[in-house]
Symmetry: C2
Subunit: 224 residues, 2 copies
DNA sequence: ATGATATGAAAAATCGATTTTTTACTATGG
DNA sequence: CCATAGTAAAAAATCGATTTTTCATATCAT
């Protein structure tokens, strides 16, 4: 038979993916309590796989779980976003340096391919979900050969957390153009193995995304 | 009424704690497949809370989960231990610097208290589980005021992973004495706010623990 | 023999119902 | 009027049974 996905999936796993996407895309209100009965109907599944998916998401940090009173969508806090962005900067900076030292020919080829897909996705409007996927894959591929599976894992987790904020923020075409252009320059610097410049640019890339994401935070209304 | 734990617990949560402890303490063989029926009997619980606990542990990284074929205890790999120890060193080093900048009077008091408890636990033999708890709490408290909840979270996760290896390793009283002495010096340097020396010592502390933990890895038999 | 296929036992995943706990509401006494 | 205890409804957690998938073994055609 033809090639196909090797992983037979379960209801719990599919639900995990769907819920994760919806959480990151802001389909639920921050701080909201999740009504299990409603979710059951909405996603058309039974209670067991639903609860298993929710438990995984809570352990991952995309939900808050409190004994005997269910699950809740975490609030969007300015302080937390600061923390996440700062760590992203440090972690991804370190990972990039190592990736530029380790990455081989295959990695270079894959990076160009990932960048190309990202550009194509950028030209197709309305396919926002697809663009997000390509964007994630680009950044993932960039840092992949850093040699530290645990660092990669933490970076992805932070990326997911970060995106909860970023995707709530209003679109801004000017900034978006700059961010896109940075992706291209990142590829160039990566191929040239210009470690210092690449790291600086990646950190600037994260900083700029952070500026955008900030507007997603609940603003305390000034009293004056 | 008197002070008491605020969190009413659930079967799933208690089981999560118990399984986590047993996993870190090496009660299960690395690489082993978990027989759910057996676990059910051993921990005297129903299927639902058991599966929820297992799902959480898999999301946390203390179990491997494969769709339609259950849960498995991760193997102990030299390369993974290297990764974990290296990240611990970097993360905890960074966290310590920030903690020394932020920690106030209350933190100093708590640190002394935690160290005292650790020393006491060290004198009481046979209470290994209690010592491990005090040890974890000491390190946790040391880095607590670093100002980054996510960094603290990752450090704990790495610590748990690291301990899977360390607790499998054979006891060595000489090394153990050195490690204990380092705890005391860490407190001193922390109170003096000697950032550089404290960081160096903490990294040395981790490096030495790593030497110990190494012997837990499955050794490839040399062919010659 | 060999490899493919069928079969039954075991294990994983899911479902539907039950039990327990929380929450919102109401009544009652201070 | 406030606080407090009681009560019913809702939600969370758990249980027991069922369904689905995997795994090991046996069977059959080549």
């Amino acid at each position: 038979m033809g090639a196909e996905a090797s992983t037979a999936s379960t209801a719990a796993s599919q639900l995990y993916v769907a819920l994760k996407r919806d959480l990151i895309n802001g389909r639920f209100t921050a701080g909201q309590k999740l009504a299990i009965t409603t979710l059951k109907q909405h996603y058309q599944v039974g209670l067991s796989p639903l609860r298993e998916a929710l438990n995984r998401l809570a352990a991952y940090g995309l939900l808050e779980q409190e004994n005997q009173r269910g699950f809740r969508v975490p609030a969007l806090e300015r302080a937390e976003l600061d923390d996440i962005a700062d760590l992203r900067s440090r972690f991804e900076g370190q990972a990039l340096e190592q990736a530029l030292e380790n990455g081989g020919d295959e990695w270079e080829a894959g990076l160009l391919a990932a960048f190309h897909r990202l550009k194509r996705a950028d030209e197709a409007p309305g396919q926002l979900d697809h663009w997000e996927q390509m964007h994630l894959q680009f950044h993932r591929h960039l840092l992949e050969p850093c040699g530290s599976p645990w660092l990669v894992r933490f970076i992805e987790q932070l990326h997911d957390q970060f995106d909860r904020y970023r995707r709530m923020a209003p679109a801004n075409d000017t900034v978006r153009a700059i961010l896109n252009e940075q992706h291209g320059r990142l590829v160039d610097l990566a191929l040239e193995r210009d470690i210092t410049a690449a790291r600086t640019l990646l950190e600037e890339h994260i900083r700029l995304s952070y500026e955008v994401a900030q507007s997603a935070c609940h603003e305390e209304v000034a009293k004056a």
